[in-house]
């Protein structure tokens, strides 16, 4: 078997959590589309999560 890349397991788990959190926030916003505060909060949550991912500081996520 090949030697797996360092941290692949932790990265996979972390990104899976991120993806679940994003889908959760989107679902919350879409299902409360007539409640502006809930929608705005959901968008803000998505932005906060995605900003961290876009910054790409992998070592910070995993340590």
């Amino acid at each position: 078997m090949p030697q797996p890349a360092h941290n692949i397991e932790k990265l996979d788990e972390h990104l899976l959590e991120v993806v679940r959190a994003l889908h959760g926030a989107v679902k919350q916003g879409v299902s409360h589309s007539n409640e502006p505060k809930v929608v705005n909060d959901a968008i803000a949550d998505c932005k906060e999560i995605l900003d961290v991912i876009m910054a790409g500081k992998v070592s910070d996520w995993l340590n």
């Binding site: 078997m1 797996p4 889908h23 998505c46």
Partner: protein, 238 residues
């Protein structure tokens, strides 16, 4: 032509060229998956025209992050660490289309309509490929990419219904992305593409995939009342 099917446990027994090409194609695929959100999240998440569109931008980014995760896992399992692409500046992306920033809603719509469609073509190259762990992650990824393409198409149609000025803005976006889409298929007669095919990692020659794409996209553009850009103007990979 190599016609065996390979599992993770077999990788170490494979020819070094196979391992090299598999690692390379997974790295580029991972870069393309995360390259999309890096293009549109910064400007489009806050500026999408409706709250629902903002949420859909976030959902699309979430799906692309998940695609990255799946590809990174397949690469990581064979010892190829692709995590560096998560922090790669846009100008260093492997594929030209992902260098830059999307700053208008027209570009965002056309990107989904044209570039995510190339993404679908790239993924289709791996259908029935020789590396089974790669084959297994494809169905869910392709289903989500189809959703991105449809959303991009619908938003483009919506913009076209808003009058001549808006139509010209869409046409401008088409002119920009169409040539980048064609370039994404790579050089005609590429010797590396030939090796990918030899090892069963891709199905079509670059020029054939590009030709199939044009045969699919050009009639759609015509039905939308848009001009088909010159397929040679501004191209970098012929």
């Amino acid at each position: 032509m190599f016609s065996d099917k390979i599992e993770l446990k077999d990788v170490d027994k494979m020819d070094p060229e196979y391992k090299d090409l598999l690692g390379r194609v997974l790295t580029i695929q991972a870069d393309c998956e995360i390259g999309g959100p890096h293009l549109y999240v910064e400007k489009m998440l806050p500026a999408a025209p409706t709250k629902l569109d903002q949420l859909i931008v976030a959902r699309t980014a979430a799906e692309e992050v998940d695609h990255f995760r799946k590809v990174a896992r397949v690469a990581g399992d064979i010892g190829v660490d692709v995590s560096f692409v998560l922090s790669q500046p846009n100008e260093k992306r492997f594929v030209d289309a992902f260098r830059g920033l999307i700053t208008t809603w027209e570009d965002n719509a056309v990107f989904g309509f044209l570039i995510d469609r190339v993404g679908r073509y790239q993924l289709e190259e791996f259908y029935d490929c020789s590396y089974l762990p790669l084959q297994r992650i494809l169905p869910d990824i392709v289903t989500e990419e189809l959703g991105h393409i449809e959303y991009g198409y619908n938003k483009t149609v919506e913009l076209l219904s808003k009058g001549d000025e808006q139509k010209e803005r869409v046409q401008k976006a088409i002119e920009y992305w169409y040539v980048r889409a064609l370039d994404m298929f790579g050089h005609t007669g590429s010797s590396r593409a030939e090796r990918y095919r030899y090892w069963g990692l891709k199905r079509r020659a670059n020029e054939q995939a590009r030709d199939d794409y044009m045969k699919e996209v050009n009639p759609i553009l015509e039905r939308m009342g848009l001009r088909i850009p010159d397929p040679l103007k501004g191209r970098r990979y012929m």
